[in-house]
Assembly symmetry: C2
Homo-oligomer: 397 residues x 2
Amino acid sequence: MFVSESMYELGSKRSAIRELFEYGKKRAAIVGAENVYDFSLGNPTVPAPDCVNETIRELTQSLDSISLHGYTSAQGDLETRQAIADYLNNTYETNFKADNLYMTMGAAASLSIAFKALTSSPDDEIIAIAPFFPEYRVFVTAAGAKFNVVAPDTKNFQINFDEFEKLVNKNTKAVIINSPNNPSGAVYSEQTIKKLADFLSKKSEEYGTHIFIITDEPYREIVYDGVEVPYVTKYYNDTIVCYSYSKSLSLPGERIGFILVPDEAYESKKLYAAVCGAGRALGYVCAPSLFQKVIAKCVGQTGDVNLYKKNRDLLYDGLTELGYECFKPDGAFYMFVKALESDAENFCEKAKEEDLLLVAATDFGCPGYVRISYCVDEDMIKRSFKAFKALKEKYAK
Amino acid sequence: MFVSESMYELGSKRSAIRELFEYGKKRAAIVGAENVYDFSLGNPTVPAPDCVNETIRELTQSLDSISLHGYTSAQGDLETRQAIADYLNNTYETNFKADNLYMTMGAAASLSIAFKALTSSPDDEIIAIAPFFPEYRVFVTAAGAKFNVVAPDTKNFQINFDEFEKLVNKNTKAVIINSPNNPSGAVYSEQTIKKLADFLSKKSEEYGTHIFIITDEPYREIVYDGVEVPYVTKYYNDTIVCYSYSKSLSLPGERIGFILVPDEAYESKKLYAAVCGAGRALGYVCAPSLFQKVIAKCVGQTGDVNLYKKNRDLLYDGLTELGYECFKPDGAFYMFVKALESDAENFCEKAKEEDLLLVAATDFGCPGYVRISYCVDEDMIKRSFKAFKALKEKYAK
């Protein structure tokens, strides 16, 4: 083929989620938008905190054009990195410095850069824990490493260590974790993180290697009922934090986030240099300048997480009452529901007949489940129950 | 090594240009900023046109947060792409549609994506024409292709076709051109583009392949004295345009640009799909949303190019009068000057003794020359002549 076959495939295979979304728009035109219940997309529905647009307006008035829109250093504005380090240190009792941080264009960039920095041989393996965000496979493969998946713990959606054990070997370069989790909404407990740290320390020692944790945490601040999300660097030295402001500040289109390489990580200076190199090789010159400055001002703020919590409670109570088996999420804005048959795709097709748009979790590494995004309008959730009821009744026959 | 060796090297080897810049800041602290003549960096010094900040403020007031800062489609906002297509069609009498365009995070992203999309085998070769922007080598190598360089035409800084001929073979996937050129400031004439098109058509036919032109043109609008920059798609079908608003709108830190795949290109739908796939694989989710909307409004505007022209004339006249052999640039904001000895690095060291910071063009593929960036303060140019004079006199002894 005259172009890269794998790139062509990636670009021409439409995402199932996006297709569902497009289908929903078509159905809305036929049956009316109020009669379509689209739970497919994970787009924040809570507005950015006022600080964001206020800071943007202020900066366009107070700062000269060159300082505002010019190149920053490749690592990112010192002031921004310092503000983030200060916020993290105050919040998690850590000891980060500005130089532990590398600003990126959101979580996808953070992950792509981290995988590229770590992959030193085609034998390298990177492990994800099901259920997992499907683009991990794309980014790991693009970085030239092998992608392995730990089968899910469908009871608590923590980590299935028995399955994990089978996959770790001397080629294991890193494990990617995502808590609060997309798609399950689970938050890894402190116990899970401690067990993971012990497990990887033991394995690293066994193989004479350093197995890194790459912790992907765009949903860190979106948690309910005071649940705590342990800061992983405090439990395991060889940790790389990948963060994005897409969800916490509701800025998914602006592409702003960071990679954090703590001093405690093995050869952290070398690792940080490899991160800088990978960012450069992938064509990331610097994270968007204006939004770096917005972060310096708004770090630590979030949109109104309570709106998501209200939706979660509404949906969880409603579906449970209808007899669905739901995993009650502690964070993020997804609910994991067991399909009413083993073939989740088929279940989703039947849901579609009721104009209920759900995503089968097969691509997330968790067959038999569906993901319901509840970052939607509250009224839509209320209206959807009659469709969920009808769907349930189909299986009662 | 526990990290990727090549990424580590890329990240730890500081760019010579940036080192020079840091050196300049240190010297300024010692001898006074007014006595250091830093011609090293290619940062726009002309402010963004008013439209940019006005549009930003307006959007933060008129558009809801989700529409303003939310994900756009991976290709980019339809409205933005349509506005760009309309502008190009009106300006260059072309026939582009929104679907020919893919929004990117600036030129580095455009190029990285284009190289990744095209590279289908490790035997693939991509050719640059000296003098060339050194990061091309980084991006081509990262995409997995071989990087070859055509020796320069140091008379007119057009294309040395005799040298070019030697490098083209059945593995040649693409040729990257950059006009107006960084570092020479040359603009490829219509005659050059026609000759290039003929040459590549002939070669493609000879090998039964399609050799693409990748045209990197962030300086397209920065030209002087009415010089025209031919729109390459009108001369050669298999063209991929990589554009960035970094220079025309003075927005280098915001990372916004596009890739254009014309319908006339071989299997253009497949090529466009491969571009989308490469964007996805490299972790580019969408170009920054707010700035996509700014582009929709401000496309076609530029900062005040006359300020660069004034600098060019001042510098060219001054240096020529002092006896330097300069290539008079028709565009961009760089001037190419012949070093006063064959070793340009050594010449730059001697310049440094006069606190004149010039960049040796060896890494640009053009030994014996230096690049002088004149996107600087006009007064600095005036003050610098005494240092240029002293430098000249060193060689007169």
